[in-house]
Symmetry: C2
Subunit: 333 residues, 2 copies
């Protein structure tokens, strides 16, 4: 998990009208904020991931060198580190309110600009749902976000992506033991079904055809699918569905009266948008539609059979090099 600090905000009013109690954001920093308070790199957690997922990118001599950058890894609400159904004392499990990425944004703004005292962010970056949060910050703070690197993650959850999410949610909720979130023991069948359905969306046809699961250390396709099942059985079902709700309803347009194009036009940051050509839910075509609305947007697709997974930090050498190269272009222009 890595060492983690906690910023306690207390009550957070939510877009839904509900209130999140005892709100707490788990985060980790590397390096020091400089005198101008403008050397921050902010990195957002992805679905079922924590701040720890990005640790391999950070270190002396790397692009994200703590000697040069003040690096902040932020955990989103519902990921099991920040306030979540699985760790909330006052609103546990099914009592957890409906949190969106706008609610995360408000909490993250307080952490970054008030608590940590950042004035300008040199780079906002994330993979997948992490990218979605970075998009939101770039829209909300056009004068404080200098660059954006969005890897396999869109500015809004497009309907195709929503249908995918509807499917994995249905597979999980189909387990009667889930009991609308009021389970006492984990709904293991539902979590396994969630993982197995999800796996089909995570890679490309070529990945499966060419048995590229061998690259990941598996000796059969079934072994890969069982691994996806077990990974999800280790997670909390309400946490998963809370973050899924945030993902499903993500839309930078909510910051500009419902107009996502206007929201993107508002971004001042230099942006590199990096979908994978084989991503089945954060599609290349929809990334291109978003880039078309940007003032300074560049589409740099990852070409990879790993599909959505191609963009995972430090997972695949070729894609990782391309992500690192984009990061360098943005941080050392």
């Amino acid at each position: 998990m890595g060492l983690c600090a906690f910023y306690r905000l207390g009550e957070l009013p939510l877009v839904s009208g509900e209130t999140l109690l005892e709100t707490c954001i788990g985060y980790q920093t590397f390096g020091q904020l400089n005198a101008n308070h403008d050397n921050a790199v902010v990195i957002f957690s992805y679905y079922s991931g924590t701040h720890a997922s990005y640790l391999p990118l950070i270190g002396s001599g790397k692009t994200l060198d703590p000697a040069r950058w003040f690096i902040v890894l932020v955990n989103k609400l519902g990921n099991g580190v920040s306030t979540s159904p699985s760790n909330s004392v006052l609103q546990p499990g099914a009592a957890f309110p409906r949190v969106t990425l706008l609610d995360n944004l408000r909490a993250q703004e307080r952490l970054l600009f008030e608590h940590l005292g950042i004035r300008r962010i040199a780079l906002a970056y994330g993979w997948s749902m992490g990218a979605m949060q970075a998009w939101h910050l770039a829209v909300a703070r056009p004068h404080q976000v200098q660059s954006l690197l969005a890897v396999c993650g869109s500015a809004r959850c497009w309907p195709n992506n929503q249908v995918f999410l509807d499917g994995v949610r249905a597979a999980l909720c189909c387990d009667a033991q889930f009991a609308d979130g009021h389970y006492h023991t984990p709904p293991l069948r539902g979590l396994a079904a969630f993982g197995r359905v999800y796996a089909g969306w995570a890679y490309s046809a070529a990945f499966f055809r060419e048995a590229r699961w061998r690259d990941l250390g598996f000796d059969s396709l079934e072994a890969l699918l069982v691994d996806w099942e077990q990974d999800h059985q280790a997670l909390d079902a309400n946490d998963l569905l809370s973050a899924l709700h945030s993902w499903y309803h993500a839309d930078v347009g909510l910051l500009t009266g419902g107009d996502w194009r206007a929201a993107l036009a508002q971004i001042a940051a230099r942006c590199i948008v990096m979908p994978c050509d084989n991503d089945r839910y954060f599609t290349l075509e929809e990334a291109a539609l978003e880039v078309a609305e940007l003032r300074q947007g560049e589409l740099r697709p990852l070409i990879s059979p790993y599909g959505h997974c191609a963009g995972a930090p430090a997972r695949f050498a070729t894609a990782s090099a391309q992500i690192d190269s984009a990061m360098q272009a943005l941080l050392y222009p």
Copy 2:
């Protein structure tokens, strides 16, 4: 359902080593077999479809004119018309043995060449799983199948397609009420989850983005998904999983010692292979790999946001015209 005749084969030895008892194939014919016994057009049922699905294609003045062609619509085992878990008296429900497309082929050969007395088939055609059966017949009877029209359906179930099937199966089996097939009342939650997960694979990102569900008469995306749920709740879970087993294990290579390339090279028929560019499980790229092995194979993709559904008989005007044109090219060369 349409009027249906039944051909009773009795005991059918299966590839699995089991025996299907009281085997019965439901079929419907139009027109007359000619003196040479070579004017047959054979059309195979698709997943969760029956012979009735193709009725709109048949009629006086149409390409499939019964005045010219002896048209045979065949129901596959497990579809609820031919012998299936839902209608078998001796092997009902979970007691139904594991049937593959090779088993279907053996039963279909007896129906076509023995019972109906066909000598040569002018056209073998099907959509989706229907195409898979047509591929099998073209491989097994190279001198008796003159042409093949395979719409959105491959000669083998590629791993990407298997992973998709694994997902929908997991969603259904997640319902404890399914009870490994020993249910007394239908597992409605599981069937709904099956339908909802399936829907995400059936169309393209553009279909969802452009709200093309309006073309289908729905007033919201949710209404479309609920329709998929209800469609599947009306089907029998064991029937669905029996046909899914056949689909998952489909492979013309089983006719030639495991070598699918050798099997395709054996086909003498003139073939038109018609995947949809946006089909997510019967992919364009895998159709192209199969066509490359054919002696007389032509790849004619459907370009459509309807994805796999584009190839459904008589459902979408543009694709239907393209399918009809291919059928004409094969029947009236």
